[in-house]
Symmetry: C2
Subunit: 319 residues, 2 copies
Amino acid sequence: PIYLNTKYGTDVKPEEVAITVGAKSAVFMSIVLLTRMGDEVIVPDPGFPTYECVVRYAGGRPVFSILKEENEFRITPSDVDNLLTKNTRGVIVNSPHNPTGSTLSRDDVEGLLEIAEKRNLFIISDEIYEDYVYEGKYYSFLTFPEWRDYVIYISGMSKTWAVPGFRFGIIIARKEVIKKIELLATNIYSCPPSHLQYAALKAFEMGIEWFDRIRDEYRMRRDVVLEELSRLPGVKTVKPRGAFYVFPNVRELTRMLGYKDVDELSRAMLFEAGVLMLPGTAFPLYGGEGYMRISYVLPVEAIREGFNKLRDWIESKMG
Amino acid sequence: PIYLNTKYGTDVKPEEVAITVGAKSAVFMSIVLLTRMGDEVIVPDPGFPTYECVVRYAGGRPVFSILKEENEFRITPSDVDNLLTKNTRGVIVNSPHNPTGSTLSRDDVEGLLEIAEKRNLFIISDEIYEDYVYEGKYYSFLTFPEWRDYVIYISGMSKTWAVPGFRFGIIIARKEVIKKIELLATNIYSCPPSHLQYAALKAFEMGIEWFDRIRDEYRMRRDVVLEELSRLPGVKTVKPRGAFYVFPNVRELTRMLGYKDVDELSRAMLFEAGVLMLPGTAFPLYGGEGYMRISYVLPVEAIREGFNKLRDWIESKMG
């Protein structure tokens, strides 16, 4: 908790923390714990597919909040407000967001907390991309003292520390929730590998000043992707503030090249141009139709090379 | 699979194997996958508490098969037969067994497989102690070709390789089951830490000839425990064939020392004599009442020292 308290100016106590087998098991246990048969849980669409799957597994009903391009794909308090019913039990938020890179503003976070308070909802806040924020300040739900009442904060070491293979996740929540999470974890997998927990402790003690250099590198990559996208015909892009994804609108390009949808376009790009982008529909329903997810975890030269191939391919197709 | 095929003379294929976060998550996923609301699942009592918890979590009803001292605490085909109802869906077997050290005979395994076949039941066979067998041959469910039809074999590296902190578990089952396990695992925790999987692969390639020495050491420790127990008043012990536990009947001793039950006795032993044995009732219900579990993972000198303390304490109590 010292690490996170310094980072977000809060006062998390050891009994409010659980270490999990990756952020995914944190998501799984939180949803399973808080969702009962028939509960509605609002999930972003596009969004990380696990949210929907686990809500259904738990007997709940996922209610999709379509993220809108005109809102820079943020899940806004008014979006959520429009979806509330008497069965709504919680909201899953993911900021910075996979696959769109959207990042919530201070007003968004405060507005969502107000709704949670008014309607007594839980907020599962998956903040795994929290350090990949390129514009303005990042607002973690932990920054606001109300977190203890409504929020389950989830993060992990897979992104910032780039050790996805460690499967190291973190949950922060009020201690009653953590007690139940511990009970669930004991029956699901006992605990995460013990020696990796020592490694993580050491990493947290070292702070993350070293990450500034990496963030600068990723910001540069993002800007290169945006520049390259601006040179493609039929593509419109919202500038993402976080994560390492860009989510361009390729509807016009899809039409120009004569493909039925982004799934077809994505397949053709992969097999004909040798360039991989995930179709927006992989996340997980309709909200991503017409969009592609570009992941910029590769160096700038590789990004340029991919776009060169893509441009050549598009030109050859349009003859 | 090569490792296990050599060991048990079977023909497991790669698509029939899943690697899990400890044998516990293998148990969790298998039960959750195969149990539906209202299903009855036969679990050993005494037995590992997770079996009962997860059956209940999955909406099933645990039906306890009381392991009897006169059967050396084996779960016998006739025990299981007596508990069958039209709602019985599966049986959880754990041989060698925690906490009694009982180990199934060839007839037991074949008899259980026959019942599974006749009633179309699943058998979840937790064989995590498979290499700790001191008398006669060990019969894994994998030894019998019918395993593919009814059995989910579970093991891991926590016991034989003594790396419980690695959380490395194994499931073997027909490929349709493994496919579903993979789907569950993807949503629960993605996968076990990747570098530990490489370590495990190397360990399997090295075989387990080195374990013979360790098994001999454990057999010796068991025999020391049995000898020491034979010198205590009011204690009757079945000689266990496997695992690293002895499960003496201490009913008479409890009465002689004036305690209400083994929980009271165990607490007094810990705080007054400085010796820890788990009361049989920790596993998890009534079957262990009147018994204690002794774990002999410590060296012979430590075992002797513990029994010396225990004997002095008993003598001082009986004046």
